[in-house]
């Protein structure tokens, strides 16, 4: 089984090549990393880093050829990319604790040996050995426990007070994993009196839940992805707040390259002698370095590299608009340098497109681009300042704001074309061949999106729904009108007006004016959409199986992708996480976190393209199987057969036999069933959030490893996407058995490939 994780195809989309596994041997000595009662350091000095070709490994920042630590994870590349001088060592000791949440899929991507999604005592122990460390206080005795050298990264920029970098987090030498809440590091200069929250060295568990959910969702929604959480570990610590209340802490173990603009800076906006080296090394690591011919061979082209990075940030910002997301607290350190998301605790989706903020002093939905511009300008300014008198020649000034704005406009057009439900491949054709039609559409959507009622826009403790219209609902519903056949323009406009669901506040006169404007913009939106769909219909060969297939595909994608991401509105999501942490504190039941985080993530993914690539895949008889993911011990996959059939396939491994009874060993409680029970087993499921249900009968079959299994096959049509949830029940003989439905509600979000997509996926498997 190949595990590809989220990003490969998307990274290809942004112009990065990928290959299966091609990492050159490292140049630094291999080391095991952990010693009993001792310490090992392994930050490279200045080395010529071999490049990692695989974009997915690059996004994770690991070198798979250099296995380190008890779990034999790949070496943390950030240590080499930034260089030893950019870290402060942190002597840390292994701690006991409880793994409150673990990301099984990510663990596999990182090379952690783990099967299925069941926590066993043995796995629990391995996780603690590999990930559970806290800083030793000066002079503290490790008491014979494992000691390891961690590395706190040095950085500057906004939002860190007078800290000199990571004040409460440090990197493990393996997995490029950052432990947040590790304790106070030597880079923490801020005092508890200045900022208690960032001075005590701990991290609240709630932050771990938020970051974990957003990490998975962000990996699906953003082409540069997001940092992700591997584990949340409860060590029993609390933060005692000055007002007497207590907050549960945790070790939050975070994955991804985690290279930030802030790493180039020292202090608020200065560079240092390391700045150019770090900037170049980071850009090179991420495949973003632009070079030009120099006196002694190729040399970095600093402004061109900067522009390339700006382009990536423009894309991320445009994707935020498309999915209705605000980051909330953009700073030099709260983003990765290639535009991947980082520090996700203030992020929020929203029902419409109001200009919301999630913290008072943060950026707003439409205004956040300015924050991004000023942070990127700070980055380039620091780089220039570090070059001294060479700056004028080697890094001439760039109008970062203008660069970002123009790249943003381009990216926004791309995103709005995507939001019509067209496949990205078709979108690209239209963008190059019909740019005016695409720009017109983007403008029409933006004009509607930006109409506000001017209320309080702080969406911190409540959901803000103050936009005048729901423009994404119009994009969501319009294509199904087209499926119903030719309707006159007047009827189409009326339909769009209905879908826009205008919510107009103010005086009667103001209302009339606003509604008139909505009416006028609705006409424009209809004309712009019609033009784009017509242009696509003229070019469908090679992208769609037929005109009808194209219309269905558009309707399904638009409906799936433009559904508001309700579960991640900040106020209710944070409330939910607070309740879960509370309940976990009382009961110690780790299932609570799994359910909250995984459920939320499953219901929030929206990118059809990314879903096709999410999970394992392989060839099966007569076709391919993709999107293989294990949820609560049940293997899920989408099957695409060469004869055109499509099935969502569920499988539960079966042990035992007819005589002694069959056992569903991977399910909680390992239920034992008779043959009659197995054959009478049914799955009641929904793909529309339980508005309607269907049932499918079990079959005795074999799983992908050829083992006996109970399987279910749900027929689905090409181009469909949705979230499958369900309960299993058996009514036979004297028995009635029902699987614990609550945990099964975590859901399986899937996308079904059409002929073209299946062919491309099959080709990827063969190559």
């Amino acid at each position: 089984m190949t595990l590809t994780g989220l990003g490969n195809k998307l990274l290809r989309r942004v112009g990065l090549t990928t290959s299966a596994e091609s990492v050159q041997p490292g140049t630094t000595p291999k080391t095991n990393g952990v010693e009993q009662g001792g310490a090992v350091g392994n930050v490279a000095g200045t080395v010529e880093l071999p490049t990692v070709e695989d974009a997915h490994l690059r996004a994770l920042g690991i070198d798979k050829t250099r296995k380190e630590g008890p779990a034999e994870l790949g070496h943390s590349r950030i240590l080499d990319v930034l260089g030893a001088d950019r870290f402060a060592p942190v002597k840390a000791v292994q701690v006991d604790g409880k793994v409150a949440w673990f990301n099984f899929a990510l663990a596999r991507e990182l090379g952690f040996a783990v099967e299925g999604d069941a926590m066993t005592p043995e796995l629990h122990q391995r996780i603690l050995q590999a990930l559970a460390y806290r800083a030793l206080a000066p002079g503290e005795d490790a008491g014979g426990k494992n000691v390891v050298e961690l590395y706190a990264d040095r950085y500057g920029g906004t939002g860190i007070g007078n800290n000199e970098g990571a004040g409460r987090a440090a990197f493990l030498p393996w997995g490029n994993l950052n432990i947040k809440g590790v304790g106070r590091t030597s880079l923490a200069k801020i005092t508890e009196a200045q900022d208690f929250h960032h001075a005590h060295g701990g991290a609240p568990m709630r932050e771990g839940l938020i970051e974990a959910a957003w990490g998975e969702v962000g990996s699906n929604l953003f082409s540069r992805g997001s940092s992700r959480i591997l584990a949340i570990i409860d060590t029993g610590d609390f933060t005692q707040w000055q007002n007497g209340s207590k907050e549960k802490r945790a070790l939050i173990v975070r994955a991804s390259h985690q290279l930030r603009p802030a790493h180039v800076l020292k202090g608020y906006d200065q560079g240092g002698d390391f700045s150019e080296r770090v900037f170049v090394s980071m850009a090179k690591e991420l495949g973003m370095l632009v070079e030009k011919p120099g006196k002694a061979g190729a040399e970095p082209d600093l402004p061109a590299t900067m522009k390339k990075l700006i382009g990536q940030h423009a894309r991320t910002q445009a994707e935020q608009q498309r999915w209705r997301i605000v980051h909330g607290a953009i700073s030099t350190g709260n983003m990765q340098i290639d535009g991947a998301q980082l520090d996700l605790a203030t992020m929020s989706t929203q029902p419409r497109t109001a200009d919301i903020k999630t913290i008072k002093q943060g950026g707003s939905f439409f205004g956040e681009i300015d924050e991004r511009a000023s942070e990127l300008a700070r980055l380039y300014g620091a780089l220039r300042s570090s070059l001294g008198k060479d700056a004028a020649k080697r890094a001439p000034p760039i109008d970062v704001g203008a660069e970002l704005a123009s790249a943003y406009k381009r990216e926004l057009t791309r995103q709005m074309v995507d939001a019509t439900g067209l496949k990205p491949s078709m979108g690209e054709v239209l963008l190059s061949e019909q740019p005016a039609a695409c720009e017109r559409l983007s403008k029409a959507v933006q004009s509607l999106a930006r109409m506000g009622n001017g209320g309080d826009l702080l969406a911190d403790k409540r959901v803000v729904d103050d936009a005048v219209v729901d423009v994404f609902n119009a994009l969501r519903g319009y294509p199904s009108l087209l499926l119903e056949g030719e309707a006159p323009r007047e009827a189409r406009v009326a339909k769009v007006l209905e879908l826009l669901r205008p919510n107009v506040l103010g005086s009667t006169q103001k209302k009339e004016q606003t509604l008139a404007k909505v009416q006028q913009l609705a006409v424009e939106l209809v004309d712009a959409l019609d033009a784009v769909y017509a242009a696509a219909a003229a070019k469908l060969d090679g992208h769609y199986d037929s005109k009808e297939a194209m219309q269905r595909s558009i309707a399904q994608r638009a409906a799936f992708e433009n559904e508001p991401i309700e579960a991640l509105y900040k106020a209710p999501a944070h409330e939910l996480f607070d309740r879960v942490v509370d309940e976990f504190g009382r009961t110690g039941d780790a299932k609570l976190l799994t359910e909250a985080i995984d459920k939320l993530a499953a219901s929030s993914v929206r990118s059809f393209e990314a879903l096709l690539e999410l999970g394992g895949k392989g060839a099966i008889e007569g076709g391919i199987e993709i999107e293989r993911r294990t949820i609560d011990g049940i293997d899920h996959a989408v099957r695409a057969f060469d004869d055109g059939k499509r099935r969502v396939h569920l499988s539960m491994p079966l042990t035992g036999d007819e005589a002694s009874g069959f056992v569903l060993a991977t399910l909680p409680g390992a239920p034992r069933l008779s043959k009659a029970d197995v054959e009478a087993m049914r799955y009641r499921f929904t793909v529309d959030g339980w508005q309607t249900t269907q049932e499918v009968q079990a079959r005795l079959g074999v799983d992908e490893h050829g083992r006996p299994a109970i399987t279910f096959d749900i027929p689905v049509i090409k181009g469909a996407a949705g979230r499958l949830e369900g309960v299993f029940h058996v009514e036979a003989g004297q028995g009635f058995w029902i699987k614990d439905g609550a945990s099964n509600f975590r859901g399986y979000t899937f996308a079904v490939p059409d002929k073209q997509e299946a062919a491309a996926l099959a080709k990827g498997l063969a190559g």
């Binding site: 009808e548 269905r552 309700e566 579960a567 509105y569 209710p572 939910l576 359910e595 459920k599 219901s603 055109g644 059939k645 499509r646 009874g661 239920p671 034992r672 069933l673 008779s674 029970d677 009641r684 929904t686 529309d688 959030g689 339980w690 508005q691 309607t692 249900t693 269907q694 049932e695 499918v696 009968q697 749900i714 027929p715 689905v716 049509i717 090409k718 309960v727 029940h729 009514e731 004297q734 028995g735 009635f736 058995w737 029902i738 614990d740 439905g741 609550a742 509600f745």
Partner: protein, 172 residues
């Protein structure tokens, strides 16, 4: 699932099932993108099935007082009558459509089924599957037709409203 059913075991199973369904509902109530009414319908349905499956064997247990056994029989009978009258197309559509292919486009996924001629009775009523890809209608396989007759045949009498059980219907 094994051993001789006893009133205590049945009670235990019913309590477990009830607690499980309540947990499921409480969980659904926390989630904004879930139709709580829909979850409640499924829960109620499964609860009835579970109660029936657990108490029905007690009617053959001589240790249970005759009066109680009679009562159990009445309740089980009422649950079965309810199940028969509310049987949903969605729960059998996949089985009815098994092996079927749309005559128009070759698709094999049925969006729903349509009936016509209710008064003709179960062996003559017209039954067609509606293709999820192209919307065209065509008859199911004989095996699919048989599943329909087994699951819905008892409903096919004059006065039946097929829409209530999830079918498309032309009112004939």
């Amino acid at each position: 699932m094994s051993g001789k059913p006893t009133p205590a075991a049945a009670l235990d199973a019913i309590l477990d099932l009830t607690a499980g369904q309540l947990a499921l509902l409480a969980d659904a109530a926390k989630r904004p993108d879930v139709d709580l009414g829909g979850v409640a319908r499924t829960s109620f349905d499964l609860l009835l099935k579970g109660i029936k499956a657990n108490v029905a064997p007690l009617t053959k247990d001589p240790a249970v007082p005759a009066e109680t056994r009679a009562r159990i029989e009445r309740v089980v009978g009422a649950v079965e009558a309810w199940e028969r009258s509310t049987v949903a197309l969605g729960h059998h559509l996949i089985a009815v459509a098994e092996g079927w292919q749309c005559r128009s486009c070759g698709g094999d996924v049925a969006r729903t089924a349509a009936v016509s001629g209710v008064a003709l009775g179960k062996s003559l009523i017209k039954l067609e599957l509606v293709c999820a890809e192209c919307g065209a209608r065509s008859a199911p396989t004989p095996k699919g037709r048989k599943v329909f007759e087994e699951k819905f045949g008892h409903l096919v009498v004059a006065g039946w409203n097929p829409e209530a059980n999830g079918f498309q219907w032309d009112r004939r």
